[in-house]
Subunit: 298 residues, 2 copies
């Protein structure tokens, strides 16, 4: 009787877990096909591993949670890399948003890293109908502007290489913007990262309306190349700083995608968060409630 009991219990318990295991295996397979988010993450990692013949993405799930600690602005075509996560706008062939997480360690400059070794490369995880190519930018008159800045990720060659994926890029006016005012804003962020515990930066494009001669509001922007890559009218950067005393600070900037005179101070581009949220259709750092902030943007 006792032996019968023990056998039944052993068989019962092991069947119970076998059931769970087989069902999970089966469902994982199914879910990865049903919900693109899951599949895409895997696909990106697999693919990233062979970019430029270098081993790239390691231990991703944990890193994505770190970067996205305060919430995803949206879940449309999300792609993840070591130090940044982005959402790709298939209609405009540029990112919706790119979120970086920087620390004093991550922005350390490794003298062996050479930006000149980097090449812009297509994101083959994006369907060819929606994929921006180097050819689209050629002779367009626009720079291939980084959203996650190359200069923020110079701790290793692999990390800086990742920022050259074209899904992290949008057409930017070169002289007077990408190489000047926007670059100054990137340097300002980097300085913050060196002196604080954590800095989270969300960068992206805006398409802002203008009043026409008819008194109506119009959104107008150029598209370049065979794939009609959209040229944003503006770019935003939202910076959340967690100080060494674990206090939070928020600053938001909006810059027009045009030649900006040298003498305009950075603070003139500050903008309330709500303006950027309304214009982009996104909500940022939703998990950080406003009462956590010591200093909000003016």
């Amino acid at each position: 009787m006792t032996i019968k009991c023990v056998t039944s219990v052993v068989v019962g318990v092991s069947s119970f877990f076998l059931g769970i295991w087989i069902d999970r295996k089966y469902r994982e397979h199914n879910i990865s096909h049903r919900i693109p988010g899951f599949k895409i993450f895997d696909a990106v990692y697999a693919e990233s591993n062979v970019v430029n013949n270098q081993q790239l993405v390691i231990n991703n799930e944990q890193r994505v949670s770190q970067i996205m600690k305060y919430g995803f602005p949206s879940l449309d075509n999300v792609r993840s890399y070591n130090n940044f996560v982005l959402s790709y706008d298939q209609r405009n062939r540029i990112p919706h948003w790119v979120l970086e997480h920087l620390t004093p360690e991550s922005v350390q400059y490794n003298p062996k890293v050479d930006r000149a070794l980097c090449d812009f490369f297509e994101d083959t995880s994006i369907h060819e109908f929606f994929r921006a190519t180097n050819k689209d930018y050629k002779h367009s008159g626009f720079d291939r502007g980084h959203l996650a800045a190359a200069g923020n990720h110079k701790a290793s060659q692999e990390l800086v290489n990742q920022t050259f994926v074209l899904s992290n890029i949008a057409p930017q006016v070169g002289k007077g913007f990408n190489r000047d005012a926007w670059n100054d804003l990137e340097k300002y962020v980097r300085k913050k990262a060196k002196n604080n515990k954590n800095v989270y930066i969300c960068s992206g494009p805006l398409f802002l309306p203008k009043k026409g001669d008819d008194g109506k509001l119009w959104i107008k922007y150029q598209v370049i190349g065979d794939n009609h890559v959209a040229v944003p009218t503006h770019f935003y950067k939202i910076i959340v700083t967690e100080s060494n005393k674990s206090q939070f600070y928020l600053e938001c900037y909006v810059m027009p995608n045009q030649v900006i005179p040298n003498n305009i101070p950075l603070k003139d581009f500050q903008m309330p968060l709500e303006v950027i949220e309304r214009a982009s259709g996104l909500q940022f750092f939703k998990r950080l409630t406003l009462d956590k902030f010591i200093k909000l943007e003016k």
Copy 2:
């Protein structure tokens, strides 16, 4: 020995399925919190129940699977109703796409249904930053144009009411478009639905570029109201018909959002699927591979 064997088998098999059942229950709960799509469905149903004091959405999960049988074009802000499912574009305050499933039964006209009793209503499941309002359309000169057509859902007052949610609406030129050419296309779809087993229709906005005097390509569109609701340059309709012999047919149409002369035949607006996919950034009916189609659009 035989009894021991039988007991073990019975215990084993039942534990196996008990394991699956408990694990699924537990995981369902978890997944609904991790994947916004699922949670949103629940929220929408809860909210829909009190719209116009009428009991609306019943047995949803199954109905959503029916409507979306051949795949979701995207997963951005999905909302579901009895006869249609939509994805809302928070930046443009109009749908990305609206997918309807029609049958000979569903398009039957119930004489008790009165469209005049319907009021356009705001979608309170959308954050107020991104929500289109009736005020936005007032005095704009544009109609509140249905994507899922009111006329397709006259089997009951509840069903037709659902099509008046503003997340199913986009600004359309009234006379010469919404009330004419676009309406003719809707009637054509309805006729198809009456004579076939199943009709699936995906409708949505397009923002198509035009060559400027400078030789460059520009996208230009008006935005209306305090919430800057985008006025699309064009609208598309993709129609998949499953005939009574279970054969599949595909037709795609693109119409400019402007006064269209009466004498242009419907077939002049036919467009290859790929053109709509490239312009919208979406892929339609992905689960229906092209070899299934008897007749493709020209």
